[in-house]
Amino acid sequence: MYRQARLLGVLLILQVVAMVGIGVWLFASVDWDTIVNLSNKPGQIRLQTTDKSVAKDFKRAILFAVYFFAPVVLLLLAGLGFVLLRRRGWMLASVAQALIMLSCLFFYGASRPWFAYPMIAYCILMILLLNSRSVRAVVQRRQLTPAEAKPEIAHGE
């Protein structure tokens, strides 16, 4: 019964890995040499560039981090919850999927980058999986109360 929960946990962690990977790739594709100027004052770093394409890459990487940091944390917690604690984390995972979908659909708007599509597709699959009967049966399983468990027998009038 818990295999399904573990599988779900693994899929959520995979999603985390993929999103962190995309984030790393986005940050790595920023030309930091042209953007970072060390200031004269000790302990201070100034970011500055006149190159529009570099600025665009930088903005994209920062926005990605802003939009997806919280969902990634939630996904990680949910994934670990499913893998280690077996049944915990359904709500966290659902909220995270909603946040990722909202970010992909609304904040990226018309300039939707290529990675938004696989993220949307993965989210759809995860939403269907999280709401499937078998998964819900595992995560919402509860003990029968004594009244429910005991068959009702009436004797005589």
Partner: protein
């Protein structure tokens, strides 16, 4: 009605009085069960033919029960209906009746003793109900009538009846059907003021409600009560009835206790406040689409759904309202605040029951029928005979239940039937088994002989067919053996006085709302009261000031309201699932739009591969 048999008037009255119910009303109820005769005497009779204005057939003051029964059949689509007099037409009598009503001990504090919905009414139902509630109020305004204006005539009329002769009366009818003696208590109310007085779904002139008691008769002729069925809205079947020994069924001596809901007069077994779902039919096309989508969602995609949602029928949508059956008002019945007056007997069947097929109050031509008055005890609004009349046993789902007197006889008969069938099966099985063995020997003898290969193939085919028949017969025999054993055990338990669970037949019991739900928090109640207005104002503000970001602002606002609502109603999980599903649908559309041709090519490829796979599998066989 071939299986029905009427009962003579004396026996009927004695039985009716012996088991007559105790009815507990909710404080603030305006109308109590009364004799239908003074009501008819005060009404006028009208007919509305298709495409014509309503025509008065008999004016008020000239109508009687006898005259009501004399209405001839009319053209197709014509509707006969009664109409209560307008209080303005009879102002002096109206005032007197109101004064009398103030003094009446049925309502000693009138009009101070008005119905109080309680603080949590709106907090208990969802947005749609609150919206429907607001729309009902708006409809009333559009009709140029103050809320409750419709009911005024009914109140005045009822006050007048009570002034003339205060009474509490039911209409009783007793029939025998399928071994049962059915006591039918028909309760007539001058008005259903559920909407005007109790914030419910509808109002209508006249209201016929019913309570049935099912008796069995021993061989010595002694009767004993076994089941009761209380009518609530349009409900029928197993969920309606309770066994006499069911702890939910309150009794005072031999009198079952019923709790009548304020305004709607729906009858309940337990005191409390009920969420009642009123069903409205969906247009056929919507119903088909809904069925296809839900099938895809729940069956194909194996998605989860709450039990109550999964079992909702496709052809209708439902709006929940609250039914108040508090039982804290007047109590009518033996030994109660008010005693029943002698009943109006319907044995032998009076002609006003059988001959008048029209409505017992105003015909509003309401497309949902909720505001139209009901027909009499025998008929539906469309003039067909109602099931509770021609098949009371089936109406309560008792057609599959033998009486306690019959139980052992039914089991014995069934055992004999099964034994006879088992004998037949055994002899058939013996004969076929012998044939199968013979065929087996034949097939063994003809195996591996090339000149007999055709014959061998035929033999093998016959063996296969016969083997399946033998298998089926053995399965039937085995089932019958198990069934016979179970019947024997069941008969033993019955002889020992043991009875099956009293509530096993109830699938969807109507349960009062819990105390916790009834007493919603103050903030939740405040939110429930203002939410519809706040939503409307917000939507207008967004349309007025945020046209640039209209879609986003609307989506955000609706999501926020839904979130708050879900929080108050403790349905956050359902809310998250709904949001996710909506987002998944939008996401799927976005992907489809972006990769349209890719998706089409993939789909065609998938179909092609599937066909190829199927063909290759066939080749391989």
């Amino acid at each position: 009605m071939a299986n029905e048999e009427s009962v003579d008037a004396r026996t009927a009255e004695a039985l009716l009085r012996r088991f007559e119910p105790v009815i507990r009303f909710t404080k603030g109820e305006w109308f109590y069960p009364m004799d239908c005769e003074p009501y008819v005497d005060a009404c006028s009779l009208w007919v509305r033919r298709p495409g014509e204005d309503a025509l008065c057939v008999v004016p008020a003051g000239e109508l009687t029960l006898e005259r009501l029964a004399q209405q001839p059949e009319d053209t197709t689509g014509a509707v006969h209906y009664l109409k209560i007099p307008n209080p303005k037409e009879d102002e002096n009598q109206g005032r007197r009746a109101r004064r009398r009503a103030r003094r009446s001990h049925t309502n000693p504090d009138w009009p101070r003793e008005t119905f109080r919905a309680g603080r949590g009414r709106l907090a208990r139902v969802g947005y749609i109900s609150r919206l429907a509630d607001a729309l009902f109020s708006l409809v009333l305004l559009a009709r140029g009538r103050v809320p409750g204006g419709d009911v005024e005539g009914g109140r005045v009329l009822y006050g007048r009846f009570m002034e003339k002769e205060e009474h509490f009366r039911y209409h009783g009818h007793v029939v025998r059907q399928d071994g049962w003696i059915v006591l039918r208590y028909w309760l007539f109310y001058a008005f259903n003021d559920w909407r005007s007085n109790v914030f419910g779904a509808n109002d209508h002139e006249a209201d016929w409600e019913k309570i049935f008691v099912f008796l069995s008769e021993s061989e010595s002729g002694e009767v004993r009560p076994e089941w009761v069925a209380y009518a609530a809205h349009e409900e029928t079947g197993d969920d309606l009835r309770r066994r006499w020994d069911d702890p939910e069924l309150e009794k005072i001596g031999e009198h079952p206790v019923a709790y009548v809901c304020a305004g709607s007069h729906a009858t309940r077994y337990s005191r409390g406040e009920y969420l009642t779902e009123l069903a409205f039919p969906l247009p056929r096309a919507f119903a088909v689409v809904r069925r296809v989508v839900r099938r895809f969602w729940y069956v194909t995609l194996r998605q989860y759904a709450d039990e109550d949602y999964r079992e909702k029928p496709y052809e209708q949508f439902t709006i929940p309202f609250v039914d108040y059956g508090r039982g804290d008002g007047l109590s009518v019945g033996p030994g109660q605040d008010m005693e029943w007056d002698p009943p109006r007997l319907m044995n032998p069947l009076p002609s006003w029951v059988s001959r008048y097929r029209g409505l017992w109050g105003l015909y509003t031509q309401d497309p949902f029928k909720g505001e139209d008055a009901p027909a009499g005890p025998m008929y539906n609004r469309d003039k067909t005979i109602s099931r509770e009349w021609f098949d009371p046993v089936g109406w309560a789902g008792l057609d599959k239940v033998p009486t306690r007197t019959e139980q052992l006889g039914v089991i014995t008969g069934r055992q004999a039937e099964i034994e006879e069938r088992r004998d037949l099966l055994r002899s058939e099985l013996l004969e076929k088994s012998s044939r199968l063995k013979a065929l087996g020997m034949d097939a063994e003898a003809t195996r591996d002989q090339s000149h007999l290969s055709k014959l061998h193939e035929n033999q093998m085919r016959h063996i296969d067919e016969l083997s399946k028949e033998v298998e089926t017969l053995r399965a039937q025999l085995s089932d019958d053996e198990v069934l016979a054993e179970s019947l024997k055990d069941h008969a033993e338990r019955l002889k020992d006085g043991e009875r099956p669970p009293a509530r096993a037949h109830i699938v969807h019991p109507a349960r009062p709302v819990s105390e916790a739900e009834t007493h919603a928090g103050r903030v939740a109640q405040l939110w429930a009261s203002i939410s519809i207005a706040v939503v409307l104002v917000t939507l207008i503000l967004i349309i007025a000031y945020e046209r640039q970001q209209l879609l986003s602002a609307l989506v955000f606002a609706i999501a926020m309201f839904a979130f708050i609502e879900a929080g108050f109603r403790r349905r956050l999980t359902r809310f998250i699932v709904s949001v996710n599903v909506a987002l998944a649908i939008v996401g799927a559309l976005v992907i489809l739009e972006h990769y349209f041709w890719g998706v089409i090519i993939l789909a065609v490829l998938a179909v092609g591969l599937y066909i190829l796979w199927e063909n290759l599998r066939e080749l391989g066989r």
